[in-house]
């Protein structure tokens, strides 16, 4: 299409439009539709006809956004939730961009009927995305955490999961997963350590003392909840169904499930913990995986992952180790106007992935 117009005579002095904002308000009060307002603006513009076809289209779209906005209502999905948070509150999701999130799901072989171990410190976005791909059926998404308080996973609610999927999302503190079946504690120190996020660090000496004390406390805790939980789950299920309340996602994992994970291992592991050290989490969590299980660790910065990768290699804990940096470029796609958008996210973090191996020979 030949375009003979150009903008040499167009002066941007705000005088082209003869309709005033009062005129437009009056039209709105009279109930004039958005599309009609746009037509009125176009016909009252002294420069519209002089613009190029592309420019006219741009003008029209701009006015449409203001006077006749259109929205498409869609069911939430991992993709749309991630994109929304990445645009508005990226720090809440640790700058986990949608392509990085997708890679995590693939590299960790997330699928139905599997048991996926997660450390989700990105508000629940990861938990929701994994649960979405796990679906209903068997298998669990188990959120684990150091210390005794789980990390907040409020974003899971945005996914609108039904009861069947909510039941699959559970949590268990790391120390419960680390104990061997007889209940004796052979826990590595980290199992008892509190995760210090933004709070001052405890000196090592008191930590050691704390470990000694907390081992005995958690032993007792373990025997109580086992009876408690069974009773709890029974009493909460029936009244809830009577009252019609939905089971909350993120309930405590059952004794049965924990036992099964200790016997068989988890089928994969994903860590998205921007404020924690990758290696200290990996070294305690990898032993909980089955052999040949894949894992993926997301971090905003490269160095912690590089250190983690080195340590995993030295310790011969995993193979197929690689660090990926996902790259995403958005394009505007229009005839003769296809080009990358003017701004691009340069920073979607990094992912360390690998496969756990059997150390026996």
């Amino acid at each position: 299409m030949d375009e003979c117009r150009d903008n040499r005579a167009l002066v941007d002095n705000n005088e082209a439009q003869t309709l005033t904002s009062e005129d437009i308000d009056e039209m709105r009060r009279q109930g004039v539709k958005g599309d009609e307002i746009i037509e009125a603006l176009i016909s009252n513009s002294a420069t519209y006809e002089k613009k190029t076809a592309f420019s006219q289209e741009k003008y029209r779209i701009k006015k449409q956004k203001k006077y006749a906005p259109r929205v498409l209502l869609r069911r939430p999905s991992a993709r749309s939730i991630c994109e929304a948070y990445f645009k508005k509150y990226p720090h809440r999701i640790g700058f986990l961009r949608v392509d990085a999130l997708s890679l995590l799901l693939s590299l960790a072989n997330v699928t139905a009927n599997s048991d996926i171990l997660l450390v989700d410190m990105v508000g629940g976005l990861l938990t929701g995305a994994v649960a979405e791909r796990l679906g209903a059926g068997t298998g669990y998404v188990c959120n684990t955490y150091l210390g005794s308080s789980p990390y907040p996973v409020d974003m899971v609610r945005t996914f609108n999961f039904d009861n069947e999927i909510c039941k699959r999302i559970v949590r268990a503190p790391l120390r419960d997963l680390c104990l061997d079946q007889t209940g004796t504690s052979e826990k590595p120190d980290a199992c008892n350590a509190e995760l210090n996020v933004g709070t001052s660090e405890k000196p090592d000496a008191s930590n050691a003392e704390l470990n000694g004390q907390t081992s005995s406390i958690s032993m007792e805790e373990m025997s109580l909840p086992s009876n408690h939980e069974a009773a709890d789950s029974e009493t909460t299920v029936s009244p809830q169904s009577k009252m019609g309340k939905t089971p909350k996602a993120g309930e405590k994992a059952s004794e049965e499930a924990i036992k099964s994970w200790k016997e068989n291992g988890f089928s994969s592991l994903i860590i998205a913990a921007p404020d924690a050290d990758a290696w200290s989490l990996a070294k305690d969590l990898l032993p909980l995986l089955s052999y040949s299980a894949p894992f993926a660790i997301y971090h905003q910065y490269l160095q912690p992952l590089a250190t983690c990768m080195h340590n995993l290699q030295q310790g011969k804990m995993a193979i197929g180790l690689q660090i990926s940096e996902p790259w995403l470029r958005e394009y505007q796609v229009l005839p003769s106007r296809t080009h990358p958008l003017m701004q691009m996210s340069a920073f979607g973090g990094y992912i360390l992935s690998g496969t756990k191996i059997c150390s026996c020979s």
Partner: protein
């Protein structure tokens, strides 16, 4: 590779059996898919490996050759499969595959239509995403490639989730029997616009369509609303 049986769980806790597909890992970029057989051997630069030594060992094990060299035996996953499968056509790799599946919003139970099948790299990942109750109907106009793809899906154990059809989607569109039933449609064709109207017919309300272009690395993403 996957559990289409809802009562079993995906667990690599099982050991290697005669007839299993394993991924033999020499190093990061040297891997090979091998079907385990009681009487076979694997020969490489590390020596001779008897398959019979592998049977009964857990996946993820290190196994030795007659010379004392070693390899690791891994359980197949769609990611590993993409890296070892035989290329009959240009394939999609993990970065694009993972992105597509998230954008197509595929979840267990989805019905997905794909064209062209090519070497089945994406198809295998699609099968994982729809398992255990969904299905992938994939089409390629090349008879032999369709047959090779079917064989691969059998070896990797996803054949209950994938149906391969021989059909020219650009010329004929998707079969009418799937009209209005597809949750997602994926096109990787030389002239995808020819298949777009048919894709539109196949999609449910709020279904997703994705078109992949190898040449310009461009990615058109459209959503279809029926009746508009």
């Amino acid at each position: 590779m996957l559990c289409s049986d809802g009562t079993k769980k995906l667990s690599f806790g099982g050991s290697i059996k005669d007839g299993d597909l394993v991924i033999v890992y020499e190093k990061r970029d040297v891997m090979k898919a091998v079907k385990v057989s009681e009487t076979s051997v694997l020969q490489n630069r590390f020596g001779v490996f008897k398959h019979s030594d592998w049977i009964g060992k857990p996946f993820g094990s290190k196994v030795l050759s007659n010379k004392g060299g070693y390899v690791y035996l891994l359980a197949p996953t769609p990611e590993l499969w993409t890296l070892v499968l035989s290329h009959r056509t240009q394939i999609l790799y993990i970065a694009d595959i993972s992105f597509l599946i998230t954008y197509l919003e595929i979840v267990p139970g989805s019905l997905v239509l794909e064209s062209g099948t090519g070497s089945g790299s994406l198809t295998t990942s699609l099968a994982r995403a729809v398992a255990p109750t969904g299905h992938v109907y994939t089409f390629d106009f090349h008879q032999q490639r369709a047959a090779s793809a079917r064989e691969d899906f059998q070896s990797t154990g996803v054949d209950s989730l994938v149906t391969v059809g021989v059909r020219d989607i650009q010329g004929e569109g998707f079969p009418d029997e799937y009209s209005g039933l597809a949750d997602s449609v994926f096109l990787d064709l030389p002239q995808p616009w020819l298949a777009v109207p048919s894709a539109g017919k196949m999609l449910k309300l709020d279904g997703t369509l994705e078109i992949f272009g190898h040449l310009r690395c461009s990615f058109g993403h459209l959503k279809f609303m029926k009746g508009k």
